[in-house]
């Protein structure tokens, strides 16, 4: 499951970067949806509802009003809602409406003015995410 970053890496050179993303429309979890468990998607996922658990995606968007409690592994993460947990992604964007508690492991991060972030934002080189086989244990 955590090899997803590798898998997507493997897809890239095959000239078919787009199919996974464009073929299927991005998955949307609306405000009335609550999920407890593991989510894995080789594409884009937009969360406006509540998710408790582990998420692996190529691109993950937490929309305004969306809440995620748990760990996220992705290539790109955009947070405009609430997150309580950890993010492991080369590219992280925290929008002004975001409320984040936890850790944002990143190579490239943008935090908008007005965002509430409490926690650390450790920088990691890109290859850290490519070789991420197992998430480090959560220290609370």
């Amino acid at each position: 499951m955590l090899t997803l970053t590798r898998r997507s890496e493997a897809q890239r050179p095959g000239s078919k970067t787009a199919p996974g993303m464009s073929e299927a429309p991005p998955s949307l979890l609306g405000p009335g949806v609550g999920i407890q468990g593991e989510l894995e998607i080789e594409g884009e996922l937009v969360i406006a509802g509540l998710v408790r658990g582990y998420i692996a995606a190529l691109k993950l968007v937490i929309a305004p009003g969306g809440i995620v409690e748990g760990d996220i592994v992705a290539r790109e993460v955009i947070i405009a809602g609430r997150l309580n947990g950890r993010v492991f992604a080369p590219s992280v964007t925290v929008e002004a409406s975001a409320e984040v508690e936890g850790r944002l492991f990143h190579t490239n991060i943008t935090v908008a003015q007005g965002a509430r972030v409490s926690g650390r934002m450790p920088w990691r080189p890109v290859n850290y995410f490519e070789t991420l086989d197992q998430l480090p244990e959560a220290r609370t």
């Binding site: 949806v33 999920i35 593991e38 594409g43 305004p64």
Partner: protein, 191 residues
Amino acid sequence: MNLFNRNDKTGETRQQTQTPAQPQPTAPQAQPQQPQPRAESVAAKPAAPPPVPTPAPQTPSAKTGAPMASVISKALKITGQLESTEDIQIDGQIEGDVRGVGVKIGQNAKVKGTVYGDEVELSGSIEGKIEAKKVVLNGTARMTGDIVHQEIKVEAGAYISGTLTPELGKSDSKPALKPVATSASVTPITH
């Protein structure tokens, strides 16, 4: 949130003295989404945000965020429980129970677990159980397990392995209604 709303209102009342008429017409549409970001910006730097320009950039983001039908695309795999108070379209894989209102399960979708709902339309496959008032099995449906329903429609070509029980609500929803009726008929004892 409540705190922010209060801050927000106090901020508004201060600023309303300047432009009392303008914020009001825009308010009913945008208000539910507005308080958060604006309140934060108020908290961050109290003097800066003027009331009129702020709603404009926020409403588009609110529009993209609010009216959405939930879609679980075919690339998505969920292991765990899913609950929804709105209609939901499932094209991916789910291992676990699904509780929804209107649940549509697309052709390539696979669900292992129980699907509860008011209306369940199945074109893909379920291994488990369906409990719904109205069940529709399309021609491409593959159902392995029991179906508890009130109403069912099965198209030619659907595969069903399991029992159909038209008894949903006989133990659940009707008793919930009846006591209300009986208590209502009992209560008018008073003059």
